[in-house]
Assembly symmetry: C2
Homo-oligomer: 631 residues x 2
Amino acid sequence: MKRKEFKVVFEPSGRSVYVLPGTVLLEVAARAGYILQTPCGGGGTCGKCRVRVTGGSCPATQSCAKILGDARVREGWRLACQARVQGDAVVEIPAASLFESRQIILSDSAGGELEVLPAVRKQFLDLPAPAQDDALSDVERLRAVIGPFKIGIDLVRELPARLRKAGFKGTAVLADDELVDFEAGDTTAFSHGVAFDIGTTTLVGVLVDLKTGLDLAVDARMNPQTSLGDDVIARIRKCREEPRGLIHLQRAVLAAINEMIGELLRQARVEAGSIYEVVFAGNTAMQQILCGVDPSALGELPFVPAFNDALALKASDLDLDTHPNAKVYVFPQVGGFVGGDTVAGVVATRMDEAESPAMLVDIGTNGEIVLFDGKEMLGTSVAAGPAFEGARISCGMRAAAGAIDKVVINESLRINVIGNARPSGLCGSGLVDAVAELLRVGVIDETGRILEPSEFPDGVPASVAKRVVRRDEHCHFVLAHASESATGEPLLLFQRDVRELQLATAAIRAGANILLKMRGLEAGDLKTIFIAGGFGNFIRRNNALRIGLLPPVPCRRIRFVGNTCVFGAKRALLSVSEKRYAESIVRRVEHVDLSLSPDFQMEFGSAMTFPNHDGGDCDAAPDDAVPDPRG
Amino acid sequence: MKRKEFKVVFEPSGRSVYVLPGTVLLEVAARAGYILQTPCGGGGTCGKCRVRVTGGSCPATQSCAKILGDARVREGWRLACQARVQGDAVVEIPAASLFESRQIILSDSAGGELEVLPAVRKQFLDLPAPAQDDALSDVERLRAVIGPFKIGIDLVRELPARLRKAGFKGTAVLADDELVDFEAGDTTAFSHGVAFDIGTTTLVGVLVDLKTGLDLAVDARMNPQTSLGDDVIARIRKCREEPRGLIHLQRAVLAAINEMIGELLRQARVEAGSIYEVVFAGNTAMQQILCGVDPSALGELPFVPAFNDALALKASDLDLDTHPNAKVYVFPQVGGFVGGDTVAGVVATRMDEAESPAMLVDIGTNGEIVLFDGKEMLGTSVAAGPAFEGARISCGMRAAAGAIDKVVINESLRINVIGNARPSGLCGSGLVDAVAELLRVGVIDETGRILEPSEFPDGVPASVAKRVVRRDEHCHFVLAHASESATGEPLLLFQRDVRELQLATAAIRAGANILLKMRGLEAGDLKTIFIAGGFGNFIRRNNALRIGLLPPVPCRRIRFVGNTCVFGAKRALLSVSEKRYAESIVRRVEHVDLSLSPDFQMEFGSAMTFPNHDGGDCDAAPDDAVPDPRG
C-alpha cells in the first residue's frame, strides 16, 4: 500500500526528494542532505531555519508569520521547522540557513568544504586500434594511457571483446587502483555510489552522484533482522546457538539492502550498472553479520570483534545488485561494540576540530558516545534498546506515515502525525515528547511513575487528566482514543513504555557521565554536544534535557547533526581522504568497555531518575537573536 | 590399465620418482629435477653422466663397462644415458655429474644457487587468548605478531572459529602479503606448490616441497585440448567460431590439471590442502585459454594478447583442487605468441648470463626462439606443428611406454622402446632419429624424399633396404613389422611423416636464422645453444644437426636443458625474486613478429632442405675427454 508522495526540489542545487504529505520542511531538507540551523531546537522561535518556497504547496503557520512577518511570508519565506509539505514544492535554501558543519555541504553550488574526489573515477579514451607496429596487449594498451592499474580476472576475460565492440573508444572505470570496467562510448556522466547506515533497527541508504557529490535518493526501512532478535545481543545469541543463525541474519539484511538499492535506483532513474561503490557503516556486530563473519566472540567477555580495520570487498562477496565489479568499503571499527557507525559519526562531525570538550551522542538501539577532551577521544557503546526507534513500545513504530512524532501539552493534548493521517503509533521523538510533557505537567513523576489522578499536582489540565486510566496496579495514558486512531484501537502509553524509555535514557546518560568522569570533566564543561541518530534531528532539546538523556548544558551548545552514520559513510564514498581520515580516527579513539567500569551500574541507577530539568533558554529570545557561534 | 612402475630414489637428497620399466636413468634423473652433464648428447661415449646405483636393479650396458671399466661397474657406477631401470633402485648422483646451470640444483643438500624463498611461508604462533585488558580484534591479534597482511573475506569469515578451535595456537599461512589460512597446531612442515608447463600438446606438472625446494612428484600427459584442435591456430579458430568454444577448451585443460594435481598428491602422499600456490607457464594462447580469456585477437594480425603482465589469481578463479585460498601465478608474456613458456625458459637457463651470443630453442608445437647478443634479447615464436610431440605422425605418440624413442642404423635397424615393451608408436626423438639415420645411410635424400631401392646409394644395408616399400606414388619405411609391434599392425614411416618433420624443422630453423640475421650474426658465432622442450633432453645432437633443426655449431656448444618451461615455473614458485626476474625479462625481450618478416618465407624454403651435416665431433673422444666448459 504505497502512499502518495510529493516531490520537493531544492534550489540552487536541483536536488530532489520524495516525501509523505505533512512532512516538516526541516526533515525534508535533511533527507536531501541539508541540515539547517536550528538553535531553538525546532521550536519555531529563532527564525534561523528560514527557507523560501518558490513554487508549490507548503502553507505558512502562525509562527512563520510571527517570526518572519507577513510580507516575507507572502514572498514565500517559511520556517523550515514549522511549515509542512502539502504538495509538490520548490524550495530555495539561503546559505545563511545552513548549519555550517562540513558534513552537510559537500560540493554543491552552495559551496562546500569537502572535495569530491571519490575512489571511483571515469576516463573517456579514444585508443588507437592495434596495428602491426603497435601490437600492445589489450591491458597494456589501456595502461599506456591510464597509467598502472590492477585488474581482476573477470574483467580480463571480458576486455578483448569489450574493446573491439567499442572500436577502442570507451570509458575506463577505475576504483582506487583497479580497473573495474571498460564501457563502450562516453559514460563519464554516469557514476554513482550508495552509502548505507546499517543500524540495529533501521537501515538508511543514500544514492549519491559521484561526479557532483549530490544525493539523488534516500531510502530508509526497518532492519528485517529485528524480527529475528530486536537487539544486538539477541542476534549474537542467535549466531551462537543456531547453526544457520548467522546465514539467516546475513541474508535478511542483504535482501533488504538489495531492495533498498532497487528503490534508490527507481527514485533516481539510475541503472544498477552505474553503481561502482557501496560504503557501509554500522556497529561491530551489524558489520560482522553483514559480511557473514560470526559475531559470537562479541557475545562474551572481552567482546572481541573479528576485525577492526576497514574491509575492502567486492559486490560479489555480498551479492549486491550493483555493477558486478563494484567496490565495497566497510567502515573501520574501534573495538568492542564501538564500530563503524561511531567512526562515521566522528568523520561526519569532525568533532576533533570542534570547540572542546565535545561529545558526540549517537542515539540508536546501541547508543555510541565519544568524548573529545581537546587531545584524545574516548569512545563507548551502551545498549539502549530499540525504544528510540519505536520498538519495544506498546504502540511504537518507526518515524513513518501515521506515527505521532510530536506531543505538546498546553490546555489540552496536541499531537502531530507524520503524513497528516490519523495516528497509528508512536515513534521515538513522539515518545520523548510525550514522557517529557507529562513529566513537565506532573502526570509522570521523577521516578517515571504515571501518577493516579488523585496524586496530580495542581495545574494538570482536566482534559489531560481524563486521559489517565488505572488498570490493575498501573496507570496508562491515552494518546489517542479508538475513535481517533487509524487502527480503531486506542493508542496507549503504558507504565512499561515509560520504563523502556527510562532504561534507554539512563544507559546513554550513564555512558556519557562515565566518559566525563574519566577525564575529570563536569557536564557543564562541554562546549559542544553533537546529537546524532535517525531521529536525533527532530527531538526537542529541552525535552531531551528534561528526561535526562543529555548532560545538562545550555541548549545552544547542543547541535542536532542528523544521521551522522550515513553522512560519514557518504563522505567516505565521496573522498578517498575521508576514508584515510576514518582509518586514522580508529587509532585515536580509546575504547572504553563499560562492562569493566565499576561505576556504570551506579551511574545507570542514578540516571534512571528523570531530572525534570527545565531546558531553560532553549526557546528564549536572547539566544536566538544573536548569531549562533559554532560550539 | 596402469602399468607397473618402479620407484627410484636419489641420494643424497632422498627425492624419489616412479617410472616405467626400461626408462633410461638420464630421463629418470630429469624427472626428479636433476639434469646431468651430457656433452656427448647421450651417446654413451663421454662418461660425464656417471651415477652410482647403490641398490636395486639397473643393469650396466656394454658402453658402461667400456667407458667406466669393469671395476667401477661392479661398484655400481653406470652411464645414466645408457643404463635403464629394471626394478626399484637407489641412485647416487655425484656433484660432478650435474649440469652446472642454476635451474637444476635448487636448494637440495648437493648445494644450489637458488635461494628457496617462496611467496608462501608459514609461521607457528602461540597467541595470547583475548583478555579484558587485551581485547584486540582477531585480525589485529595476528597482525601484532606477524606484521601487516591482507586478508580475504572468506578467511575473515572463518578466522574467529579457527582461532578459538585451535586455542589460539596454530600456523599462519602467508602468500605474498596475504594471510591465506590459519591452521590448528604446528603445520609448518607441510607447504607445497605445483609448477605447470601448459604445452599446446603436452602438460607437465611438478609438485614441489616449498620448505626444501625438492620435487616430490612429476606428472605429464597429453593436453586434452588436442582432441579439439591440434595446434594453437585450430584452437583459436574454435574460440572465434563457436560460442562455447573457449569454455570447452578451458574446461578440458582445467579438468586435466586437476587430474594431474590429484595424481601428484597421490604419488607424494600429500594433502590438497597443503598446496598454497600454483604457477603456470605456457604460450600466450594456452595461458589465455587456461584463464578463460578469449584468444580471438591472437588469431588475426597483429596478434594481440589480452595481457602481458603476470596474472595473480586465486585457486577459485580456476576451480583448482588445491587449498581453497591458494595463489595462482600465470607467467608474464612478451607479446604475440611469445608467452610465459619463453619467459620461463630464460628464467630457467639464465641465458642472459651465458657466454654470448646465445640462443634458446624451445622445441614444441610452437617453437620459441630467443637470441641474446650480449646486450639485448630477441624473441620469436614459430608454428612447428605437433610432430616433435608425436602428433600428426601416422604412428606418432607421446614419449610414453611403447614409444620408439631411439633409432640406430648400422648393419641393421635397431630401435629402443620406452618401457621395454613391444613398440606401439614413434615419439618425437624417435622420429628425428629415424629420419636422420635414413638420411645418413641414403634411404632419404636431402629434399626429404624416401628413395626407391633402385635409387639407393652404395652401402645401404640389405636388411634396411628391404624395409622400404613403394605404394602408389611414394615409398614408406617399415619401422616394425606387424609381428613385432604391440598392436599387431606394422609401424610405418610414410613420406608425409617426413614432410611433417621437414615443416617443423624448417620453421624452427628459419626463425633462428632470422634472429641471427637481425643482429648480423652467423650460426658459427653462437657460443651457446640451449635446447629445451619435453623431448629436448633426449634427442641426439648430431641427428638434430643432420636434419638442420639447429644452426650448425660445434656439438659441445649445444646444451640440453630439458623442459625449461616447467623448470622456470618451478623457480618462480620457489622464489619471489625469480618472479620479479621473469617480469623484468618481459621488458627486455624484443618481440619479433615473423609474419612481418619478408625473409621468413625464403628462409623457410631453404630450411626445408636437410643439410645432412655430419655432426662431426659429437661423439669424438677429444671433446669428451676434456671438461666441458660452460658455453
